[in-house]
């Protein structure tokens, strides 16, 4: 009996997906926008930070490395709570009026993605980056061209870091739930919608969203897999 709603849900879910149900589409798009923006910002900040740390001698970055590793494992609900307190009306950033907006969700997810992207970039660059930097400089490259070369040489690592960050935040529910508030049409994303619709007994919608999430996750991880395989030693 418990299986029936699931099967019915899957059938309905495909219907919703293939008819591009407006409610579902809207939620999926918002998810992609929020997590996409968060990962973009996380990349812009995390890749240079990771590259900088990766080029320093490992001994001089022990503390910040440990900090990054800790933050990598930060539970999303905790991040959500912290930003809730910051953004709530009485909080230090309350005047910005960001609570329950997509901007707050982006900021919270950015905070979750940043340590992942920075730490994985750092680890990846540490092996060969210093030598790349020296080679580039020796060949007369200026600062910018050298930095560009280091990034380019580590492109597989960096891509992997970014995709891992995206995979983590698009699937998280705690942070967006707390700072976004799961408001229909405004801050409802796939994960929070699944929580809600499951609670209401709307299994079709929940399963449909779950499927979309799975598909997105599959695409992300396939990219990661092929890049890591391709990054071994051939172009």
């Amino acid at each position: 009996m418990a299986l029936l709603p699931l099967l019915k849900g899957i059938a309905e879910a495909f219907h919703l997906i293939f008819t591009l149900d407006p409610y579902l589409v809207k939620i999926v798009l918002l998810s992609l926008q929020v997590s996409g923006m968060a990962v973009l910002l996380g990349t812009l900040a995390g890749v240079p930070l990771g590259a900088y740390l990766g080029l320093k001698p490992a001994e001089s970055t022990h503390f910040i490395s440990k900090l990054l590793y800790t933050l990598m494992g930060l539970p999303p609900v905790v991040a959500g709570l912290v930003f809730y307190l910051l953004f709530s009306r009485m909080g230090p950033l309350g005047v910005l009026g960001l609570l329950y907006t997509p901007a707050a969700m982006i900021i919270a997810q950015f905070a979750l993605a940043l340590p992942i992207i920075a730490a994985l970039t750092m680890i990846g660059i540490r092996g060969r980056g210093k030598e790349v930097q020296e080679t580039a400089r020796t060949l007369g490259a200026g600062r910018l061209f050298t930095a560009w070369t280091v990034m380019r040489e580590s492109r597989f690592v960096i891509f992997g870091a970014v995709v891992t960050g995206l995979g983590r935040i698009i699937a998280e529910v705690g942070a967006v739930m707390i700072v976004g508030g799961n408001i229909e049409g405004r801050t409802r994303v796939m994960t929070t919608a699944i929580v809600l619709e499951t609670g209401k007994g709307n299994f079709e919608l929940a399963v449909g969203l779950g499927l979309v999430l799975l598909i997105i996750s599959f695409v992300i991880n396939s990219l990661l897999y092929s890049f890591q395989g391709g990054g071994r030693d051939s172009a």
Partner: protein
Amino acid sequence: MPDNEIILEIKNLSKVYDKEVLKIEQLSFRRGRIYGIIGPSGAGKSTFLRLVNLLEPPTTGDIYFKGEAMSMNGRAGTPVRREMTMVFQKPLLFKTSVSENVAYGLKARRFSKEEIKARVETLLEKVGLKELAGRYAGTLSGGEAQRVALARAVAFEPAFLLLDEPTANLDPSNVELIERLILDLNRDKGMTIIMVTHNIFQARRIAQEVIFLHEGRIVEMGDTEKIFSFPEDPRTRDFVEGRMIY
């Protein structure tokens, strides 16, 4: 430019890691000559090149390039680097094609596309790798990679070339090819070259002057023939006669 102009001068240079690995009171290099640095493993040869090439700050002392003190930091480094380059003992090739690798320094100097293409072709021909122009650099053998690294370093015709064991991975016919190229660059372009080598025969074949480094210090230096035929220090004699154990 006068032929005897001093292009590089070193004063009171030292480098300390866990212990002092290099200490040179005074040393100068004249434009347009080929210097060989020989000495046993761990003598400080690579360290010396790294200091000269500003990859490592000296613990004490100064290095003057064309009369001006060089500093590792800030903008001062870049102009010098444009005239000086180094080929590492274990060169790193970028993860691109062979010709992209050779073109790198030319791109950094904003050479035109046509000029880059022409120079890359000529050089690959000279190092015997014309057929490999399009190959992904990661798939090269050790000796091929070393030749690509040399071609990449000389493509932009630096005034001053530092070579760390440039033929260590090569078979005899390629050694000859590379030695020929080094001599040609010196003769045709007036390049000043410092070549570190374990190989005393190679130093004798190529260098006009030889510096014998031992435990971080210059034991003896002078005209190649003099060092090899009439070494003054017993350690030099042992080394050039192949009796020094290392």
